[in-house]
């Protein structure tokens, strides 16, 4: 936790009133940050500061932007989600896991958790990036954002008793149709974007962009909306300035946090028994979960036995091998072969990719002359990369489907008297 101290101006902490300023800056830089008073009360573990800190931690840890249904979850649910998120990130203090979830106590522990998060990564900047106002028409090229945020939790599904496979087929079909509707809507959006970019050539004051984006065109059409956009941008600016102020005065905050840590009782280092946090599981599924756990344990034991047997057998066969110059040469050769194969696989994925795809959203700009700056991505290059990735994935899919079909045929073959008619190719 002490790492961040070295980066900021050491003289800043000397001024009186620097601490409330620093905390106020922190608070302004976070979405709906609590007042400095809350922080002060949390140092003394006052109960009234607890719920505000639970909510702040929830906002910081939740992967979704503000303003959706999750924000209105009950405090207990938010608290539980915070606990499991912190645990999965490796938060070391046990005391937090043991806090009651009704917001009645524990504000000091929550304050420590918040500062742990702040020390691990640029939290205010990340939250700002999440909520930024895009002025251009943007599109992300890399897949990591889609993979990172799993989306809101699915509504609780009732799965009592056996599910009719036809229902599943029906759902698959519905999903397929929705997917196609999505694709055609996207195509429509692209066609319209293209038109807007084409028709507004030369309208933009920035020569390198030359045409307007949808947001900008909309701003011209609807002045009231434009005013609103302006206000949003001003708020964003204020948060940016708060972040800068926070970075300048961080040191004061960390010195103060040291004192907070000092007031806590020393904690026994985490023993082997870490409390595990299962996500909220419906009671009805409890029986099946136990069964799954037992099956997994049995499988693990089986695997361990198999590994042992193999190891013994290999050692018996290899005998005194594993030593001597020929042996190490052979080992080196095989390791190199494996590395080459892995490299080839990776290259297959990244072939034609050119420089690795940068992360984050990119603004779409239509250029007649085809000139591209250093950090610009050409659409043709991106398309080529995506196509080769698609081809790789399709090959994997076909291989897996083939394996599934073989497995099915094998299973069916084991049942005498059953005729297996595979569906006509689709």
């Amino acid at each position: 936790m002490g790492r961040r101290r070295q980066r900021v101006d050491p003289a800043a902490g000397a001024r009186a009133g620097a601490l409330p300023e620093a905390i106020a800056a922190l608070s302004r830089s976070l979405p709906s940050g609590p007042s400095p008073e809350i922080f002060r009360r949390a140092k003394f573990d006052r109960p009234e500061a607890t719920s505000a800190l639970w909510q702040l931690l929830f906002r910081v840890l939740s992967p979704l932007p503000a303003g959706n249904a999750l924000a209105s979850l009950a405090l207990e649910v938010q608290a539980r989600l915070v606990k499991s998120a912190l645990c999965s990130q490796g938060y070391p203090r046990l005391a937090l896991a043991q806090l009651p979830e009704d917001g009645s106590q524990g504000s000091r522990e929550l304050l420590l958790a918040l500062s742990w998060l702040l020390a691990r990564g640029p939290v205010p900047e990340q939250m700002l990036a999440q909520a930024r106002v895009p002025l251009g028409d943007e599109m992300t090229v890399c897949q990591c954002e889609a993979l990172a945020s799993p989306g809101p939790p699915a509504p609780h599904m009732e799965a009592e008793g056996p599910v009719d496979v036809r229902h599943v087929q029906w759902l698959m079909g519905k999903l397929r149709f929705r997917w196609r509707q999505l694709v055609s809507s996207q195509q429509e959006q692209c066609a319209l974007l293209s038109k807007i970019h084409l028709y507004t050539r030369g309208c933009h004051s920035d020569q390198s962009l030359s045409h307007l984006s949808v947001t900008e065109a909309e701003m011209l059409r609807d002045p009231e909306g434009g005013q609103q956009l302006l206000r949003t941008l001003e708020r964003e600016n204020q948060r940016l300035e708060a972040v800068l102020a926070w970075r300048r005065s961080e040191l004061v905050f960390w010195r103060w946090m040291d004192t907070v840590l000092g007031t806590c009782a020393p904690e026994v280092p985490a023993a082997a028994s870490q409390p595990t946090f299962l996500p909220w599981v419906p009671e009805r599924g409890g029986g099946e979960l136990d069964l799954a756990v037992r099956e997994l344990q049995a499988l693990e034991e089986e695997l361990q036995e198999a590994v042992e047997r193999r190891r013994v057998a290999w050692e018996a066969k290899a005998g005194g091998c594993g030593r001597g110059p020929e042996w190490s040469a052979a080992r080196r050769a095989s390791r190199e072969a494996v590395e080459k194969e892995l490299g080839a696989l990776q290259q297959c994925w990244e072939r034609d990719g050119g420089p690795a795809q940068p992360h984050g959203p990119h603004r779409l700009v239509r250029r007649e002359d085809g000139a591209a700056g250093d950090r610009d991505l050409r659409a043709a290059v991106v398309i080529r990369t995506l196509r080769s990735q698609e081809a790789c994935l399709e090959a994997v899919l076909r291989r897996l489907q083939g394996q599934c079909r073989q497995e099915l045929a094998r299973l069916v073959g084991a049942l005498p008297g059953l005729i297996w008619i595979p569906p006509p190719g689709r």
Partner: protein, 398 residues
């Protein structure tokens, strides 16, 4: 969200014309029974969906016409142009001078590959004209050679090239006592192939529509034109804009089985609370039902009868299986109208009958050589039978 229509064969082209005509004349109809703003929204939506604009203001149907003979296409083009209200695109048709001889294999294995590129080119141009393309509507018959064989081939190609778009095939179920001897072969081959590549099949039986013309409309001499117009009316009342969850039409199709049967619209009936539909509904289990209501008093219409779980299969709750789309804007001349699109066991009997007849012919190898001559082997027939038996079995087990 625009839809590109592909009209295949004689049947497909004639019906396609009637459908566009019905859609546009409804769109222009003055007795909308709703506010002007509502009417304008309706018209705009209909236009966007099915027509594109040209400079002189005459809407051009978003359609591709394909046939192996020039006669029907020329008739269709000129009828549209004569109406003065709309027309087909200049380069939107593809025809040859050969015909398919009611041979599915010829349509699928000969015409298909030979003309694949040209046809797909025309389709692509039509798709590119759309700002927001939502899918294909393919009109074809099952019994002939071009519509069925070439239609199956084209649908397969569309699945390959436009795998992200939705495709719905409108299939005309031939008369039970039809004139084409091998219509049952053509039918089973068509259905089994479409089952794999299409997303939704909308079925209309000639026999059923014939009955409507005779009994409900009292037409003495029923011609194909009458039948087509009834069909177009039904389709129009399905496709015109409505409000469901969002206010734009989007394909909501059941992914399984995907056979649907459009019921006759109960147009002009007094209180909709007395929905006296086909009694069969109570005996046929449905996977999904869609009711579309247009006109006066739609908000107060009582559709509770459709939410009875007894109507639906056990693994689907009515809330998932039943949908209602409404709009106050009346359709065509009807003050009130209702359409039921149903995915149910209703099709089991006709399908079973066709499969049975085809199997009898196949067992005695009648006419098979006409198919094997062009590359459709007995294996393919057997595959088709298997697929369709599976479909029948799935529906029976609902």
């Amino acid at each position: 969200m625009s839809i590109v229509t592909v009209q295949l064969g004689q049947c497909g082209n004639q019906i396609g014309f009637e459908v566009f005509d019905a859609l546009l004349s409804d769109s222009h109809s003055s007795q909308g029974l709703c506010s002007m703003r509502e009417n304008e929204a309706y018209q705009a939506s209909c236009k966007e969906r099915f027509f594109s604009e040209e400079e002189n203001g005459v809407p051009i149907a978003r359609a591709v016409l394909v046939d192996m003979e020039p006669k029907v296409i020329n008739q269709t083009l000129s009828k549209a142009a004569q109406s003065g209200q709309w027309k087909y695109g200049q380069h939107a048709c593809f025809c040859q001078k050969q015909g398919s001889g009611n041979n599915w294999a010829y349509g699928y294995s000969v015409h298909g590959p030979r003309h694949e590129e040209s046809i797909m080119n025309i389709i692509r141009k039509e798709v590119e004209k759309c700002d927001s393309f939502s899918g294909f509507f393919i009109i074809m018959s099952m019994a002939g050679g071009t519509g069925s064989g070439l239609g199956a081939f084209v649908t397969q190609n569309l699945e390959d090239q436009y795998s992200n778009s939705l495709k719905m095939n409108q299939i005309i179920w031939p008369y039970g006592t039809g004139e084409v001897i091998v219509q049952n072969y053509n039918s089973i081959l068509t259905l089994s192939h479409l089952y794999r590549s299409s997303d939704a099949l909308l079925l209309h039986e000639n026999d059923a529509i014939h009955k409507i013309c005779a009994k409900l409309m009292n037409i003495k001499q029923i011609s194909f034109s009458d039948i087509n117009q009834v069909l177009a009316h039904q389709l129009g009342s399905v496709f015109q804009p409505t409000y469901s969850a969002e206010s734009s039409f989007h394909y909501r199709r059941n992914p399984l089985g995907i056979d649907r049967h459009v019921r006759p619209p109960l147009s002009g009936l007094p209180p909709l609370s007395k929905m006296s539909l086909n009694k069969d509904l109570h005996f046929n289990t449905s996977i999904a039902n869609l009711v579309i209501l247009r006109g006066k008093d739609v908000q107060s219409a009582d559709v509770e009868g459709f939410k009875d779980p007894a109507l639906y299969t056990s693994w689907l709750k009515p809330v998932n299986a039943f949908n209602v789309w409404k709009t106050q804007r009346a359709f065509s001349k009807y003050e009130k109208s209702a359409v039921l699109v149903s995915n149910s066991q209703f099709l089991v009997k006709p399908l079973d009958m066709i499969v049975g007849k085809a199997w009898n012919m196949f067992a005695s190898k009648a006419y098979i050589h006409q198919y094997t001559k062009f590359g459709i082997e007995e294996e393919d027939f057997l595959d088709s039978f298997t697929s369709l038996e599976q479909v029948v079995a799935s529906y029976c087990n609902l």
